[in-house]
Symmetry: C2
Subunit: 204 residues, 2 copies
């Protein structure tokens, strides 16, 4: 077994804070394209999967954000996984407001229609999730939306001839402690620690 | 502006699924160390921050897992961020059951006491969050725990002389589409897209 790294044993105690990492950094699409509810984008790191069956996702948004109103009024949103090449756009969509900016137009992003929701997807992102809000909880600084993922749109170029998704080719973005990262070296697949290694063949 | 990558425009449509990525891959500690509620660990990818003030986190656990009972009965858990060097242990803790294994002992991990919760932290992880359950929702295949992060324990060796955390030194683990990854190149910090670049000095 690997030795215990003695240098991690001594810990300092802090008050509670949002130190989960790494987390996703995704573009949430919202609005339905009408004058009252124009298409908008907001960068979200406070998101996670909350259920496998049915597939459900959570996103948390400050109620004062334009996107919070749009998601509440339309009952839907999309989650778009950006490649690391879009990091500056992802950052910008998180710091400016949809009240002052047409984020799709100003960042040269292309809205794609959802098949099950009125919110737009982002063509430049390799994977988009269409989400219908099921529950809304007010937690404090943030409104929590629990939503069912009702459809997924995946870029054809990430699929092999057998239709299998190769998400490692997408160059996805991660966020940790205030910084954006590319994904690095792949270490193993789920279950690799218990996979039986092929042993020498023994004649019996 | 960057050109629109034409190869992401053509999308295939799939039914809804849990395709958020990358997500964290963390070790949740639970149990209180009594014979009825022994210390246990479970690997969790279905987690996310749900509120900044108060700091809150969600984890989703299948009700048939031993850890789900332990978290429900003790009302608390810990979230430990593992370095990529622990990837095999993280994987193993996600595929075997605490009913059959003492995961701390078998993987040579060291339980550290929480200061606010009875659940154990993992000494070998550079950052640990102590979490008190506030709400429990049954969503389908998974039970969703919404918890307040009431304390954080951080490895001293990740702090600089000014007490600032350098989480990039921790070599954290990410999970995407069934594979574990190291974090790669740092692209920028939050707000980098709008930071004013220092211009040439102009005498006036």
């Amino acid at each position: 077994m690997r030795p215990v790294p003695a240098d991690y044993r001594r810990k300092l105690l802090w008050p509670g804070s949002t130190q989960l990492a790494p987390v996703p950094a995704v573009l949430a699409g919202c609005g339905d394209g009408t004058p009252e509810s124009p298409f908008n984008l907001i960068t979200i790191a406070w998101t996670g999967i909350v259920c496998s069956t049915p597939p459900m996702i959570s996103i948390s948004v400050r109620p004062e954000r334009r996107s919070c109103e749009l998601i509440r009024s339309t009952g839907c949103f999309t989650i778009n996984l950006p490649p690391a090449s879009l990091a500056a756009t992802v950052d910008w969509c998180g710091v400016v407001s949809g009240r002052d900016h047409d984020k799709f137009a100003e960042r040269n992003l292309t809205p794609l229609p959802g098949t099950r929701v009125s919110a737009p997807l982002v063509a430049e992102c390799p994977l988009g999730l269409e989400c219908e809000v099921r529950r809304i909880l007010e937690l404090g600084s943030h409104t929590l939306f629990l939503a069912e993922i009702v459809a997924v749109q995946a870029a054809e170029t990430l699929l092999d001839a057998g239709g299998r998704l190769h998400l490692d080719k997408a160059g996805l973005l991660a966020y940790a402690h205030g910084h954006y990262y590319e994904l690095g070296r792949c270490i193993g697949h789920f279950g690799f620690s218990v996979r039986k290694k092929p042993g020498p063949r023994i004649r019996r």
